[in-house]
């Protein structure tokens, strides 16, 4: 599996500033609209789907990471956006800690298998606190891409 097949480097956001979960998700989805990963008209439905999932239980699962995700019909296979916040965002996390890494995942409804595989793969990469720390301090997109590529090689 290669995350970089699905994560366009234009969808890496560094130094995101948002005061809470709602603002962060809205900002990320706006970015995806701007980069034409989703159509503007689909934004409300996408945001609604993400929040419906959050209401069932926060995807900020601890370790300063959140995986907001939704299965929607308006995207082709999988769209990922990786957002990094240096200060941390109040994301209603299960361990009450602020979130520094948000990996937002949108997948087409027909891609259930790929969706779960990608979630597992992202978890496999991000369970490494060293990587989280390095991502947090990354200054440019190519640095993030290089870190992710390295980590993928390390975990195989």
């Amino acid at each position: 599996m290669n995350v970089l097949d699905y994560l366009d480097s234009e969808c890496i956001l560094l130094d995101v500033k948002a005061k809470n979960k709602k603002a962060a998700i809205s900002l990320i989805v706006d970015h995806l609209v701007q980069k034409k990963k989703i159509a503007k008209k689909d934004k409300p439905a996408v945001v609604r789907a993400i929040f419906r999932r959050e209401e069932m239980g926060s995807t900020a699962i601890g370790n300063h990471i959140a995986f907001p995700h939704a299965r929607v019909s308006s995207v082709k296979d999988i769209v990922i956006c990786l957002a990094v916040s240096k200060e941390g965002i109040d994301f209603d996390s299960l361990d009450q800690e602020p979130v520094n890494i948000i990996a937002l995942l949108l997948s087409n409804q027909s891609e259930a298998g790929l969706h779960l595989k990608m979630l597992a793969f992202l978890a496999r990469m991000l369970r490494d606190k060293y990587l989280v720390q390095r991502l947090k301090t990354a200054k440019e997109r190519p640095e993030v891409v290089a870190l992710l590529r390295q980590q993928q090689q390390a975990i195989g």
Partner: protein, 88 residues
């Protein structure tokens, strides 16, 4: 300290994705016992959501649940029941 280990088939509709992994860890954290989940030789901390997620356990896969501690029997019983149940 009693150590228990059982092979369990995960029957959750979509495997151990984010929500069931979270519930599993919430259940696991009720117990004092240390809990590990092993899939094909890769063992992870059963009290960490990201660790459980990273195993990528799909429906029908077999895992070994390893529980060790003073309340290992109750922990094994409850966690096994959860993993074997179909609904998530």
């Amino acid at each position: 300290m009693e150590r228990l280990e059982e092979q369990i088939t995960v029957n959750k509709e979509h495997g151990l994705h984010a929500r069931p992994a979270t519930i599993f860890v919430q259940l696991a954290n009720k117990f004092n016992s240390s809990i590990r989940l092993d899939k094909a030789g890769e063992a992870v901390d059963g009290k960490s959501i990201i660790a459980i997620l990273s195993l990528g356990v799909n429906k029908g896969m077999q895992v070994n649940l390893i529980v060790e501690g003073s309340d290992s029997e109750e922990a094994m019983q409850e966690l096994k029941k959860f993993l074997e149940a179909e609904d998530d």
